[in-house]
């Protein structure tokens, strides 16, 4: 019980509305103003999860989608039924927070290159798992559009370079962990979203990603697998970008501020060797 109430200290209760508003406003701006094929509507959720814990993260995620759905003015179209997914994203972020995934890990020399290799390997491994998914490659289905594969390979290569550059430029091995956590979160989100999209909305969501759904269906995927395929395409990218944004934000907050949050001590940089 104290474990639970600790996650909802006054500071966290103040942070949650800020996080929800950031989710909604940034998601709305990225999707309708910048018109990008990513969502970026879980920065606040992951931030709260990492700073406060799994239950606070889950509450933030679920509340974001429900409030967005019913918010006058920028009403969220199809976002409400995905509240469960948003909750799980927040829960996972809390787990990553406990595990210290988002703690900076300044490194140099050979260990830095090791981190680069590990980070790139994780991305390529996940990418190959995703892009060998039956939704894209089931031999019974066949005839999937070539551009899906081309785009998949291109994205995996770009992502590998981006993660490698991040680790090398910041001299921080945490980049590998953050990338892995983000991609894993994305895969879980995709797996949970697919049945909701398929069951509730006939497999589409009214955004740009419907093109991918259409392409997969044209290739012969059924309603569920087409949604899953689209999710596995978009979500890992989205959640990895989101995780890096959160990492950058946390890394630029002072230890003094971080330490006051429930999971703060797991985010504080290791003291420099005296």
């Amino acid at each position: 019980m104290s474990w639970l109430s600790r996650q909802f200290s006054t500071r966290v209760v103040v942070l949650i509305p800020v996080a929800i508003a950031i989710n909604i406003v940034l998601g709305y701006t990225v999707q309708t103003v910048l018109k990008l094929p990513i969502y970026l509507d879980s920065i606040g959720t992951i931030l709260v999860g990492v700073l406060a814990g799994p239950i606070a993260g889950a509450a933030t995620g679920a509340a974001s989608n429900l409030i967005w759905q019913y918010a006058p003015g920028i009403g969220g179209g199809t976002i409400g039924p995905f509240a469960i997914v948003a909750g799980v994203i927040g829960f996972l972020a809390g787990v990553w927070g406990y595990l210290g995934v988002f703690r900076p890990r300044p490194t140099s020399g050979a260990r830095l290159w090791l981190a680069v290799v590990v980070g790139v390997a994780i991305i390529l491994l996940l990418a190959s798992r995703i892009y060998n998914n039956p939704a894209y490659t089931d031999p019974n289905v066949g005839g999937y559009p070539d551009w899906v594969f081309t785009a998949a390979i291109a994205i995996a290569v770009v992502a590998s370079f981006a993660v490698a550059a991040f680790i090398l430029v910041r001299r921080d091995a945490a980049g590998a962990w953050v990338a892995a956590a983000g991609a894993l979160t994305g895969i879980v989100a995709a797996i949970l979203s697919a049945p909701i999209a398929a069951y509730v909305f006939g497999g589409v969501t009214g955004s740009g990603t419907d093109l991918i759904v259409a392409a997969l269906r044209q290739g012969g995927a059924d309603v569920y697998n087409a949604s899953l395929g689209q999710g596995l395409f978009s979500d890992p990218i989205d959640k990895t970008i989101t995780s890096f944004v959160v990492f950058i934000v946390l890394a630029s907050l002072s230890d003094r501020v971080l330490a006051r949050f429930p999971l703060g001590e797991r985010l504080v940089r290791p003291a420099p060797a005296a």
Partner: protein
């Protein structure tokens, strides 16, 4: 009843250097104690320690005694302390709860947190609006007030907790001269009519000269001067400490340099 800090040294969490060093101050009921100091002299820290938020809410370590009427404030929960010593910050916007549709409900937010009967919530709200003189604002949307009005609402909101002491951390730093004046006269009325003891941190020494009776100067976390406000704010070392003296003092000094008769200078300083 007295708010007293005795030999207080405070360190923020994870810091070895103290932000306050051996600070001793006393705030009496119905009186105003002014605090001046350069940026980073520890003024905000003093407010947090005196208001009991450090270490209760932000952590850190206090040595020495922080007491209200002889009882250590550290023994109270933040919600109990809020009814003995209130605290007002610089930024009006972030101090409002952000949940109220009207100023009236914003001021009622604190008393409602205490689970008081509705009758008492309503009485305290009306009283606080009245003391600060902002009843006309009661039906307004707190999100659409000027900076000065919002700060007055924040002051009324803290006052509705009925604290015996009030700590104010540069309450006018984000306000225009008009807003500053409004806060100044509200504070004067507050101390003289309600008997609340005020600890006011303020770099506007003109304002302080007009509301405070006693004054202390903080340099690098230590009290370097203390006494009646007219004496302290006329201290020749003030500028060396990074503090601009009140205009009355500056004018008097200029008059002195210009060779005006001593009586004229004295008359100027006293106003």
């Amino acid at each position: 009843m007295t708010l007293a800090l005795t030999g207080v040294t405070y360190r923020y969490p994870g810091m070895t250097r103290p932000a306050l060093v051996d600070v001793t101050i006393r705030v009496e009921p119905g009186s105003v104690l002014g605090v001046v100091g350069a940026a980073d002299a520890g003024k905000s820290t003093l407010c947090l320690v005196a208001g009991g938020l450090a270490p209760a809410t932000i952590g850190g370590k206090v040595e020495g005694r922080v007491e209200i009427d002889g009882a250590p404030t550290g023994d109270w929960r933040p919600s109990d302390l809020a009814q003995r010593c209130g605290i007002l910050f610089q930024n009006a916007e972030t101090q409002l709860s952000g949940t109220a549709a009207t100023v009236w409900e914003e001021v009622a937010f604190g008393p409602r947190n205490l689970s008081l009967p509705l009758r008492e919530v309503a009485e305290r709200t009306t009283w606080a609006l009245d003391v600060i003189g902002i009843e006309p604002l009661a039906p307004r949307d707190p999100g659409r007030l000027s900076g000065g009005q919002a700060q007055l609402v924040a002051l009324a909101a803290v006052l509705a907790m009925r604290p015996a002491f009030l700590v104010l951390d540069e309450p006018t730093s984000q306000l225009d001269p008009q807003g500053t004046q409004a806060i100044g006269s509200a504070l004067r009325r507050l101390a003289h009519e309600t008997g609340v003891g005020l600890l006011v941190v303020e770099h506007k020494t003109d304002l302080l000269a007009s509301i405070a009776e006693q004054c202390v100067v903080l340099v690098a976390g230590s009290v370097v001067a203390a006494g009646p406000v007219t004496t302290v704010l006329a201290d020749p070392r003030l500028e060396a400490w990074g503090i601009a003296p009140p205009s009355a003092v500056r004018i008097a000094r200029a008059a002195e340099r210009a060779g005006l008769p001593e009586q004229v200078v004295a008359a100027m300083t006293s106003t």
